[in-house]
């Protein structure tokens, strides 16, 4: 049996670990809540933008380049992971999904060029480890994503696409289903597809838990009005709108990944502190037993001594 002093030391250190993980759990929980609120705050904007797109695209039949499907020679993969670790299976499940996707579509991608873009420190490390050439990395975003931080990423994607550096953009990110369940998912963002954007906006509302009551209510109503006065011209408005929509979609994807990261971390930390509680309970029992054994030993010694004297 371990010595009493040793056990005491271990109990203390586990108690400290528990305190830390508990604190991290609480911090992650509030951050998750905040991320969700930020994501939901952009919903009215997103809905209005979609409505506007529906209206304008009725008037203008020629869609800008960002909408048009062209022959695919090169594909850009964007991996959205976290900057920091200690988030359970958050990053590894994303990378697993990515590997699976590549393996499934191996034939298709043999002929097409592959380019990679890393969002988050961890995804950069992963791609480097796998010896994929990373076009660019966007990291150190912080706990909450601001629009200013997403802008360079969206600009980079749009510029590259228009310059024909790549002909399709696929994003791997994490879908926030609820506080307890996140799922790695694949999304195609370019060429822009109206339905895909609608999906992204709809999915920002979790399936269960807080905020889930906001689900639904997404309606795109197009006014069948030809007498809209459009300045400077429908084509220009569409072009501009397309960029905004893409930016919005990327922003949403990253916000969702952000909320998922915090949720995953919260869960991981909860498990860790539960484990610490279990362990400290066990050690306490052991400690008490060994203390009891020590006392019994001492009593035996005393009574044996007393017997020898008499």
């Amino acid at each position: 049996m371990e010595s009493v002093q040793n056990l005491k030391k271990r109990i203390k250190s586990i108690g400290n670990i528990k305190k830390i993980t508990k604190a991290m759990e609480l911090v992650a929980a509030t951050k998750m809540r905040r991320s969700q609120e930020i994501a939901l705050a952009s919903r009215p904007y997103a809905l209005t933008a979609l409505n506007l797109l529906a209206n304008v695209s009725q008037l203008e039949t020629k869609l800008p380049d960002l909408f048009n499907q062209r022959k695919i020679k090169k594909v850009l993969f964007v991996l959205v992971a976290s900057d920091k670790g200690l988030a359970g299976a958050f990053n590894s499940s994303l990378f697993k999904k990515f590997e699976k996707y590549i393996a499934e579509n191996k034939k298709q991608y043999e002929t097409e060029g592959k380019l990679f873009l890393a969002v988050g420190e961890k995804s950069f490390q992963y791609l480097n480890r796998k010896k994929f050439s990373v076009l660019q990395r966007f990291a150190q975003v912080g706990d909450f994503t601001a629009t200013e931080q997403v802008a360079p990423l969206a600009d980079f994607i749009v510029k590259g696409y228009l310059a024909k550096d790549f002909d399709r953009v696929v994003i791997f990110s994490t879908h926030f289903k609820s506080a307890l369940k996140q799922e790695a998912m694949v999304r195609r963002v370019l060429p822009i597809n109206f339905e895909h954007i609608k999906e992204t906006i709809q999915e920002i509302v979790p399936k269960t838990g807080k905020f889930s009551e906001l689900a639904g209510g997404l309606q795109v109503t197009g006014y069948r009005l030809q007498e809209y006065l459009i300045e400077p011209s429908p084509a220009v408005v569409l072009e501009d709108l397309a960029r905004h929509l893409l930016f919005m979609q990327v922003y949403h994807v990253i916000l969702e990944a952000n909320a998922s990261e915090h949720a995953a971390r919260r869960l991981a930390m909860k498990t860790a502190s539960d484990n610490a509680s279990d362990l400290s309970e066990k050690l306490n029992l052991q400690y008490n037993k060994s203390r009891q054994a020590g006392i019994t030993n001492q009593i035996i010694e005393i009574s044996a001594g007393a017997e020898a004297l008499s």
């Binding site: 705050a41 009215p44 209005t48 629009t147 007498e227 459009i230 300045e231 220009v236 408005v237």
Partner: protein
């Protein structure tokens, strides 16, 4: 008119307004009640709103869209 100004971060303004002044790609415009339907691209500048209680609201924007819908409804998307 019923006016709503949305940004990606939050809802900047929602409610009844008398006047909306902003810079579009073709020049500065002021919208009053019952404006004709209109879609325009906004340029960077300051958006001024006067609500029905005669209070003035100002927002600085970088870019955005303006849509005047039928039935006296106006929506702005700004960044």
């Amino acid at each position: 008119m019923k006016l709503a100004v949305y940004s990606l971060k939050k809802v900047l303004f929602e409610g009844e307004a008398k006047l909306l002044n902003c810079k579009t790609a073709v020049g500065e415009i002021t919208l009053l009640d019952n404006h004709e339907t209109f879609i325009g691209v906004l340029k960077s500048g300051v958006v001024k709103i006067v609500d029905t209680a005669d209070r003035e609201h100002f927002f600085e924007i970088n870019s955005g869209f303006l849509e005047v819908q039928p039935k006296n409804q106006v929506r702005c998307l700004v960044n």
